[in-house]
Symmetry: C3
Subunit: 431 residues, 3 copies
């Protein structure tokens, strides 16, 4: 779900096949001479940079965390260095696996193939059909986006097809549950056709939303649109049966805590503790901030929902009240630089998302449609437009990578600005 | 409802604590040297300016009208000049009262605290709970927007929190009427939480809409969103009972005229002649054009609605068909420079709003949801995108103040342009 | 339905009364000196131009095809050259007829009065009331857009009022069918009032959508909004009766082919083979690409819809599943340069439109509202945001005329770019 227009734009400008050891470091280096002209300042900033590189360099395995710069680097080399046909085919396969992993990771804002494969493993543990359909949809999406010549950097970052992957996973989870409401063949065809449309819509809406200021990411809007339409079209045969109303269960704190934890897996409509654990572990590898933000978002959603009405306790226990809040909280921490004010906004967005979910759930109840991740998308689309005076609520700047790095770059930038403004104050004759 | 992106932008550029006697005059003065380089022209424009200042200056009390420049000025001085702690606390209280007043005024596009307090008095006369909840929501909104470091000028002009004030007033009016559909505690909590969300949404949507060209204001869209969601969430307990269908009453001209008049109070969901009178009087103090435009908009809505079907006569008599058209007509006269063409557009917008209200009312009937001010917002969002060739339908330019001044500035601008174009014609060698 | 913001903008820059023999040629000629400074290149491009002009010049009647430059030229001269009052009045009448024709043509993206009158003839053959109401609405629209001083070039290209023309045609077709659901007087008043609102909304939404990048046209969105609201308002009297459910008919290939053909007429809610034939013939005169694209879009919609469910066979046979896909396919071929990739996108858009229509039809079923051309608008608004790397999916550049010319200009541009890039490569010292 990390489709960010800025990121894409920035990525397009870079040579897609350029061989650099650490993309972010290179970008920093390039930008330094532009903004600072005195050697003293350059030294100061390069010291900071060295320290960051040093920390990452001495623990080589850390380059697998964040947005996995080590893997990106290896991939860049792989095709070039492979001399035989078999090796080249193998390196293309590696590329394909890298993109597939990132597709699943980006659903939770993690541009990291390892996170993606942990999530996929979680899906397979919870429901094998879901994992297989997700893989198929992701593959169809990748092929179609290559056929339509989408920007190489977007495809490689998983930004073109994460909606398709989510669509492929969630549609069978919803329709082929314990009480299947559609035939397997129908769902399979819907996954194939729908993933093509999902990629089309992802590309288009991302373009349109990026012309707003501040640029608004599209989250999983395309997935929601295509999934709702697919369910409506499949219903032309046989209407979805409304679930029987279950009386509210007894109140139980442990179930609520469990429900908060289940929220992570319910992003993919899989209600399974192991799946949730793997999703959270995948996020943790990419970014501890995202994992923590997601979990606390899920807690806010589950507990606040339980407070609204006993009618919602069943949903709260199953993690259904948590997954939208989970994503909403992650979204704020990914697109805003993590500060105490953005942490507050993240929790407020989780709460807003919960209320939207309750309201939409009520409004959709008669038609038997699921709310999917619409509450998260609606609330976050609105909340991400927030700005404040003088860096009080700063948006992460392109190229977007992961919250920890966003914060490090922001602190560095703020320090540089303060040095510059001091210089200007002492030499007031220079404009 | 006067949230205008241009205004905000322009206001942000100004030093928020600058001490000028008349903001608008100062702006004019500053802009003159930029556009006219010959003394002759400067003289001509400064003559016009002097006349305007003279008229306002000789009647000092007139500075309480319009956007109340006298009060703005006093407020600017108040904090600085207060030397003891008590006096400083007192001046902060005055600031707070100023903002509170403007919050209520801006709901009807009146950036004037006196208008706001007259409106608040009207609410208190009609329904004391409504006024108290409105005040609470407005206060929560102000505190939250300060916590999130919103631009000082926006907060002071009432543009951050007028939606919160409206939300606080309307929610209890709808839910705690003669047949209450929710408990008082619930509504109170909803007002507290909802006003925070309203401020968040106001800030965000204003940013997003301002990137369209011509920039579109957001009116009371955030209020509508939050109020609809609040009603839906509160219904998880107990469904809203659909009102019993009342047979159409007898036709009566006097009731229709009364209904047109009641429209002003129904903006706040208060059906009371005194309340309507105070709202209209408040508007009259800020801008006679707004008051007249609102009243005639309400007349168009009420009479046109009565002509559509006898089923709507009950609503027409209660002023329910008038309030959206009231606001729609005001909106056009506020954001377009008042000319005969914009007067026509104002009446057309009132008519369009009425039709949207009838259609939405019909569509919402089964779900028992109120249409709130959605018809006004939907119609006006669309209509305000209208443009025409060569100043035939000019938008008021930032900084927005009140219709009379918009027109004065536009006439002045047009005169200056015609002088310049004459100059250019006589000296065709200068490009 | 060819409302294109770029077109309008480009057209506004031109002098509306300029006398040029071929607008497009003139534009080309003017742009050449700007981009190419060496005579060699100019020669190359002017050779290409000459060939294009030659082909059109030697077959004078071909100037009636495309966007009918011959008629535009004659019209430009007509008013100026007429010396007596009667002749001037006559030439104004000619102008009015020209605009009326283009209004009806633009509904299918054909900026050609002859196409428009063929379509109008088709409507008259199918249902005389429809044609008359369409004419009235178109006339009201023209008068109102002149009163509101809309850009002369927009009005003359039919871009201001094609929505009004469609509204006037479709409303009586829907409400005054074999089982009329409204009285004739009501529908007539609705056509009069609604066409004014349609023009207002067309102008406004076109402005707002044009600030997105890539600029998105508005298609028939205003028609859909106003028609839905008109139907809802008229229902305040008497609810629309839901059509009785008809059992699915037998499957029949010939009926499906006939249904695909009927799709062209169903754009105007007229189910008549002669009407469809005249619509397709009108399109053929303007642009064979559009006619072919439309027909194949209709085929995709009809056959795909028939494959989804037997419940849809009745609709498929009547052409109801074809008209949205017809328009969707035309839209892609008009706004993208025709290539094999845009042909694929056209068919995908037709398929997406069909699915949206099935889903929306299901969602609207309970309320008895027609889907109008909403599926086409929704799908195409999204799909037209698509872009790709390096001219793989190029948008037609302003001024938009007709697909064949878009492609010719694009090929010419591509050739010029390749010459320039060769030059740059051989002289690498020049930046």
């Amino acid at each position: 779900m990390g489709e960010s227009p800025e990121k894409k734009e920035a990525a397009e400008k870079q040579q897609p096949e350029v061989n650099i050891e650490m993309e972010q470091t290179a970008t920093e280096e390039a930008s330094v001479p532009l903004s600072s002209e005195e050697p003293a300042k350059k030294e100061a900033s390069s010291t900071t940079k060295c320290r960051v590189v040093g920390v990452l360099g001495s623990f080589k395995w850390l380059s697998l965390c964040g947005d996995a710069p080590l893997i990106t680097e290896k991939m860049d080399h792989a095709v070039e260095e492979s001399k035989t046909r078999v090796r080249r085919a193998f390196s293309y396969l590696l590329h394909f696996l890298d993109i597939t992993g990132r597709n699943f990771g980006q659903i939770c804002f993690a541009n990291n193939p390892i996170s993606g494969f942990l999530i996929l493993a979680g899906l397979a543990v919870g429901n094998l059909t879901v994992a297989i359909c997700g893989l198929i949809a992701s593959t169809v999406g990748i092929l179609f986006s290559m056929l339509m010549k989408q920007p190489c950097s977007s495809i490689r970052a998983g930004l073109c097809c994460y909606n398709a992957a989510l669509f492929g996973a969630v549609l069978p989870a919803l329709l082929l549950g314990p009480n299947p409401v559609a035939e397997e063949v129908e769902v399979f065809i819907a996954v194939l056709i729908g993933s093509v449309f999902t990629v089309m819509i992802t590309v288009s809406v991302a373009n349109s939303l990026s012309s707003l200021k501040p640029a608004i990411p599209l989250f999983t809007l395309p997935f929601n649109l295509v999934a709702l339409f697919a369910i409506l079209v499949l219903r032309v045969h046989q209407p979805l049966q409304l679930p029987a109303k279950v009386p509210p269960p007894e109140f139980d704190w442990t179930h609520l805590v469990e429900g908060s934890f289940l929220g992570a897996g319910q992003v993919f409509a899989v209600q399974d503790l192991y799946c949730s654990g793997l999703v959270l572990f995948g996020l943790l590898i990419c970014s501890p901030v995202l994992a923590v933000a997601g979990f606390f978002g899920s807690v806010v959603g589950t507990f606040l929902g339980a407070a609204v009405s006993p009618n919602l306790w069943n949903d709260a226990y199953a993690g259904v009240l948590g997954y939208n809040a989970f994503l909403a909280s992650c979204a704020v921490c990914f697109f805003y630089v993590p500060t105490w004010r953005s942490a507050l906004v993240a929790l407020l967005n989780a709460a807003l998302t919960l209320f939207v979910q309750v309201a939409l759930g009520w409004a959709f109840a008669d038609s038997g449609l699921p709310v999917l991740t619409l509450p998260f998308v609606a609330a976050s689309l609105i909340v991400l437009g927030m700005t404040a005076e003088k860096q009080a609520l700063p948006r992460a700047e392109a190229p977007l990578t992961f919250p920890e790095q966003h914060r490090a770059k922001w602190l560095q930038e703020a320090r540089r600005d303060s040095i510059e403004s001091t210089d200007t104050n002492t030499h007031p004759t220079h404009p």
